[in-house]
């Protein structure tokens, strides 16, 4: 520990997060949870500083980054600085999101113009997403997570299975039944 007191550039946050993450790599799920919780706050701040105009989306990107860190955690080399590794992933996911976003915006531009005449466009998408989140929260985990990973985040069934710990058929069934249940809820809510 003399290292951290002697060299001013070793960040105490880095030290702390790294210790937690090394525990997580050895299978300590409590350490992993603490690590992800603390990391999420840093990633959130990082994104808010860089994307002041996309506050609505920044939480989506935070979750993307956490998922990416989870998926790529075997690529962390235990002797290298954690900050550089996390930063590269966060930047990759941010750029990836912006690229997809720009494409989507470009495709939707003419349509958005029409909507501008009819409704308040800045409120609408945020509310739509929140409503979907609310509906999803009513589903049991084994349906909610498959839908979230496969339908909303666009992961493959195999990746969703790995993330959730469910089998691949269970993920497919979860998506199928979950969508059915969602449709029922939406219909029930409207009529």
């Amino acid at each position: 520990m003399t290292r951290s007191t002697e060299t001013a550039d070793v960040n105490p946050v880095e030290e702390r997060l790294r210790t937690l993450f090394l525990g997580a790599l050895d299978g300590d799920s409590a350490a992993y949870r603490l690590f992800l919780q603390e990391l999420a706050t840093h990633v959130r701040a990082f994104l808010r500083r860089r994307l002041p105009n996309l506050q609505d989306d920044s939480e989506d990107i935070v979750q993307e980054v956490l998922l990416a860190i989870h998926r790529g955690r075997h690529t962390y080399r235990r002797d290298e600085p954690l900050t550089a590794w996390v930063h590269a992933i966060a930047r990759y996911k941010m750029v990836d999101f912006l690229r997809a976003h720009a494409r989507r915006e470009a495709l939707n531009d003419p349509l958005d113009d029409v909507h501008d005449l009819l409704a308040e466009p800045s409120i609408e998408p945020a509310e739509a997403r929140r409503d979907l989140g609310k509906l999803l929260d009513q589903l049991p985990e084994r349906q909610k997570l498959p839908i979230l990973h496969v339908k909303i985040e666009g992961l493959s069934v195999e990746e969703a299975a790995r993330l959730t710990g469910l089998s691949e058929p269970a993920v497919k069934i979860g998506v199928h039944r979950g969508l059915k249940a969602l449709a029922l809820k939406i219909r029930g809510g409207r009529t």
């Binding site: 997580a24 919780q37 979750q63 998926r71 590794w85 930047r91 989140g133 979230l148």
Partner: protein, 213 residues
């Protein structure tokens, strides 16, 4: 979903990570690349009948060393590009040195040769097919290595695709050494390099498409 729920899901029984899992994936990918190249080579081209005699000549090993050194440099670069935030360092000298050495030696050979022999030294008998054969032999390797890189966490996709392609090309060129009838240095410094560059360019173009995660 709320971020807290996501964190709870991700951290619920997280399996310990094998510290050697990156190396293991690349070992499998390289084995796949080598086996794939040989499986294509043996029925399509076969092995030269005079291979044992050829292997006695130093020039054969100089020829083998060219793709081999490039393969090593490409392996190091690909492994680094598969890890977020890993610096590339001086890996570029690993590409530049063999190419510079081979080209300058090839130029010297051409310079010293009599005028009328130069074209034959450069074109050999198989210049039309050599590069394409190497590119064909590198196809299984390209698939296996790109799959390995994708399963890791590349963040510079076109670059990672290019080095993965060069690695596949170098493995293909190594396999092609078993069949190639040419020993002239200007020949292989040109056509082997071109053959390895084809999968590298394909990898760079495919990078953003297939390596995205």
């Amino acid at each position: 979903m709320r971020t807290d729920n996501l964190i709870a899901t991700l951290s619920a029984d997280v399996a310990p990570v094998n510290p050697r899992s990156v190396e293991r994936r690349f070992v499998y990918a390289l084995l796949g690349a080598a086996c794939g190249a040989l499986v294509l080579l043996l029925p399509i081209y076969g092995v030269r009948a005079d291979l044992p005699a050829l292997m006695m000549q130093p020039i054969f090993w100089v020829k083998v060393a060219f793709p081999l050194t490039l393969a090593c440099a490409a392996m190091v670069a690909t492994a680094r590009l598969s890890r977020p935030g890993a610096a590339l360092g001086r890996v570029w000298t690993g590409f530049a040195a063999p190419v510079a050495l081979a080209s300058s030696a090839a130029l010297a050979v051409l310079w010293l040769a009599p005028q009328e022999a130069r074209l034959a030294l450069l074109m050999g008998h198989t210049w039309r097919t050599c590069s394409l054969n190497i590119a064909l032999l590198s196809v299984p390797g390209l698939v296996a290595i790109l799959a390995a890189v994708r399963s890791l966490a590349p963040t510079r996709l076109p670059l990672a695709g290019a080095t993965a392609g060069l690695l596949a090309g170098a493995v293909g060129a190594l396999a092609y050494c078993l069949r190639c009838p040419e020993t002239s240095m200007p020949f292989w410094a040109t056509w082997y390099l071109l053959g390895m560059a084809i999968p590298a360019v394909v990898g760079a173009l495919l990078g953003r498409l297939v390596l995205r995660w």
